[in-house]
């Protein structure tokens, strides 16, 4: 009886966490839509959204410019922030599970850098692969992200037998530095105007993108999320190590490949539309794990919800702190994320020391 009630309680707790995260997300969405230089009332915002999506508006006279601001500028901005935050947080959670390493994140292991190089190349040379059209940008970014991931893994394989935590981060830094210098090279070769553009883009931003960018990220986000959430059991099993996972019947090679592809899809697509925004994938899954425990069945979806909400909030801060000017959103996430990263690194060391 006691056990049953405990299970009920923990199930309830998890259910409540979903409700709270969902509520938080909606609240922050509304806040993001509401808070800006031009004030539009909340009922009006809701009316515009429902009217546009479900044709269920109830207000008769809504100013055209308000509708413009909400529907064409703020809503895509908020949604894009959500998509990117959700993608990065989910990718981070997956990388961490796969590498058995709470310090892994698309940014720290070099995938983001690779993807941004791909994106810069596309933007700078105005390339377009036949048949892909505007999807050239995310596809190239994803492919470059995957390539840099393989280079990082190759470096780790060559330098140490185990996928040691520090080695992965170190290899990520090496690859990021290398790619960074290539990007710098491209920037220095370009004219002044595109230079500012690329630099600003590199810092990451979700502003001035519009619906087209949501179209760019959405398919990859859906596929990537599905792949990762579908493989939650494999991620759990990998916590025991690859051999032990193999022993309980997990096809480790297949599972790893799928998780890497899924996480790279998410990262590449997110970087392609927003530039590199760091540390979301590091901070959010860590917070979720503190509350729910490490079971990926809940860590993955909750990371998406909370990651999305976090980035909307970060964007809100980015555009209000020094309004009317905007800070790059990457600055905000790095200001929050880097200290957390340092804290985790120290904790990891202490944990190790205590175990041995």
């Amino acid at each position: 009886m006691r056990n049953l009630s405990i299970r009920k309680f923990s199930n309830n707790k998890i259910a409540w966490l979903y409700v709270i995260s969902g509520g938080l997300l909606l609240g922050i969405c509304l806040l993001g839509l509401f808070y800006s230089s031009v004030t539009v009332t909340v009922p009006t915002i809701l009316h515009i959204i429902l009217d546009k999506t479900l044709n269920m508006g109830w207000l008769s006279d809504v100013a055209k410019n308000e509708e413009m601001i909400i529907w064409n500028i703020r809503l895509p901005r908020v949604l894009l922030a959500f998509c990117i935050g959700a993608s990065l947080a989910l990718a981070g959670a997956a990388f961490q599970g796969l590498l058995r390493n709470p310090l892994a994140d698309p940014y720290t292991i070099g995938v983001s850098s690779g993807a941004s190089l791909g994106a810069v190349l596309v933007l700078f040379f105005q390339v377009s692969i036949v048949g892909l059209g505007s999807f050239t940008l995310p596809v190239v970014a994803i492919i470059f992200g995957l390539i840099s991931l393989f280079i990082v893994f190759g470096l780790v394989r060559l330098s140490s037998k185990s996928l040691a935590i520090e080695t992965i981060i170190l290899a990520g830094i090496i690859v990021s530095a290398f790619i960074g210098s290539i990007v710098s090279l491209i920037i220095s070769l370009s004219d002044r105007e595109s230079m500012t553009q690329i630099i600003y883009w590199l810092y990451g931003s979700v502003g001035m993108r519009g619906w087209s960018h949501i179209q760019l990220i959405l398919p990859f986000m859906l596929i990537g999320s599905f792949i990762l959430i579908y493989h939650y059991r494999e991620l759990n099993a990998l916590a025991l190590g690859e051999d032990a996972a193999d022993h309980i019947g997990v096809d480790v090679k297949k599972g790893k490949t799928f998780v890497l592809i899924g996480a790279s899809l998410l990262t590449g697509a997110a970087v392609a539309v927003s530039g590199s925004i760091g540390f979301v994938g590091l901070v959010i899954p860590h917070l979720i794990r503190l509350v729910t425990g490490p079971n990926h069945r809940h860590v993955l979806p909750l990371s998406m919800l909370v990651g999305g909400a976090f980035l909307i909030l970060a964007d809100l801060m980015a555009r209000t702190i020094i309004a009317p000017k905007e800070l790059p959103i990457g600055v905000i996430t790095a200001l929050i994320g880097a200290p957390v990263f340092a804290l985790l690194l120290i904790r990891e060391r202490f944990g190790k020391g205590a175990n041995k």
Binding site: H247, V250, G293, P294
Partner: protein
């Protein structure tokens, strides 16, 4: 259950297993033995499919493993290795539920009612229910291993493969673990194939064992093959003595480290001290003697240093001794004789009298095998009986006569000490003389 035929395999370019046949029967506990580097883990990994097979084949439950998918294999066969490192703070229950992986169906693959039932069952068997919500990394090594066993059992396997599962565990947890496995083997017919380091543990738990040497079996069969000291010495390159467990009919092995084989000779006469008082006699050697005796304390074959006889109740004074008796004989009638016969130093101490028990302690500066020890014991008894006969004392007053034979175990090894041999005769002579003297002393005192 597991059939291995003419197996060759191992790491690339270098087969470690070279032509090996093996048959593990259903419901059997089969132990794989061998030193490090003999190929135990390689064979193990070939069976789990982690290493490639060059030639030959392995089948489990009648099906060749290459035809089985990973999931099918995991349903039939579970693996328990040495302690694994678990990343993140998974709870014990979450770790165990991973064992249900091969059984989960459907797109969402949630834990079904049956899964939960199995998890509860294995937690009960392994007695880890109380830690279910505890984080895996917070529990002790022994508990961790029980959790991993529970995870393996949650797979509901027909075969359990163990790779040194008790390596990090202390004796308590090793036996707890193996008792659990043995119980499971008996009750559910689980087939167990285990790599074990400890030969004595293997002897106690396994039904059959195999000795792996340079990639093939040197011996395979019943546990009694662990009595073959030569084969064990060949494989492990250590001096091994096989003995029987005192209460269980299984062989146990005793290793002899090098530094004991070359100990220096010592002088017998200088190696003991005797203290005699009114109520006790204390013979103290400065090194342990190989002793066979039936005294109240120190019975059996052992290594002992201090020998005592007490008259009446034991004195209050704390007297250290390893072998001793309380005798009804008078200690003042004690007879002590030392002699050198056939170059062998001997000392005998006899107490006794008419109607009293006769207590003989015989110390010999020689090296007897276990067989010779018993020969010598017999020779002494024969001499005692003959002497009593000669003295016309056909029955001893009490049935509690004692005899203790102690050997310094230095000098050349003597394998026979029956009453027909020189040593046996010497023993007889010593015992005969001493008893006779003891009785005449007693008789003198009476008259």
């Amino acid at each position: 259950m597991i059939t291995v035929q003419n197996l060759v395999g191992g790491y690339t370019h270098f087969p470690i297993i070279k032509g090996l046949d093996l048959e593990v029967k259903k419901g059997e506990f089969f132990a794989l033995l061998g030193p490090n580097g003999s190929g135990k883990t390689t064979l193990f990994k070939l069976i789990t499919g982690q290493l490639p097979i060059y030639s030959g084949n392995i089948s489990i439950c009648g099906e060749e493993i290459s035809t089985l998918s990973k999931l099918e294999k995991a349903k039939k066969m579970a693996v328990l290795t040495q302690e694994v490192q678990v990343s993140f703070d998974y709870t014990v229950e979450e770790i165990i539920s991973l064992g249900r992986y091969p059984h989960q169906k459907g797109i969402f693959k949630q834990l079904s009612k049956k899964d939960r039932k199995v998890i509860e069952e294995v937690m009960e068997i392994t007695q880890i229910g109380e830690f279910r919500k505890t984080q895996f990394r917070m529990i002790s090594g022994g508990e961790k291993q029980r959790v991993l066993l529970a995870k393996a059992l949650a797979q509901e396997p027909e075969i359990l493969l163990l790779d040194e599962p008790t390596n990090h565990l202390d004796i308590k947890h090793t036996f707890q673990m193996l008792n659990l496995l043995k119980e499971r083997q008996k009750t559910t017919g689980l087939t167990i194939f285990a790599i074990l380091h400890d030969l004595n543990v293997a002897s106690l738990y396994a039904d059959r064992v195999a000795l792996l040497h340079n990639g093939s079996f040197l011996e395979a069969g019943e546990v009694d093959l662990l009595r073959k000291e030569d084969q064990l010495k060949k494989v492990y390159e250590v001096k091994v003595k096989s003995q029987s467990h005192p209460t269980v009919p299984k062989p146990q092995l005793l290793m002899t480290p090098n530094h004991f084989s070359s100990s220096q000779l010592f002088n017998f006469e200088d190696s003991y001290k005797i203290i005699q008082s009114e109520d006790y006699l204390h013979v103290h050697f400065n090194r342990p003697l190989r002793t066979i005796s039936n005294t109240a304390v120190g019975a059996g074959i052992q290594w002992l240093k201090q020998f005592c006889q007490f008259e009446g109740p034991k004195p209050d004074k704390q007297l250290p001794y390893d072998a001793g008796i309380v005798t009804s004989a008078k200690l003042e009638d004690m007879v002590m004789v030392t002699k050198v016969i056939e170059d062998i130093h001997m000392m005998v101490i006899v107490t006794g009298g008419t109607g009293k028990s006769i207590n003989i302690m015989l110390f010999i500066d020689s090296h007897f095998t276990d067989g010779a020890l018993i020969d010598g014991y017999m020779s002494a008894v024969e001499a005692k009986v003959k002497t009593m006969h000669d003295l016309q004392m056909f029955e001893s007053g009490e049935s509690s006569d004692t005899l203790l034979l102690a050997l310094t175990q230095q000098g050349t090894n003597i394998a026979h000490a029956g009453s027909g041999t020189l040593v046996g005769k010497a023993i007889g002579q010593m015992v005969h003389g001493a008893i006779k003297e003891c009785f005449s002393k007693y008789a003198e005192k009476i008259h």
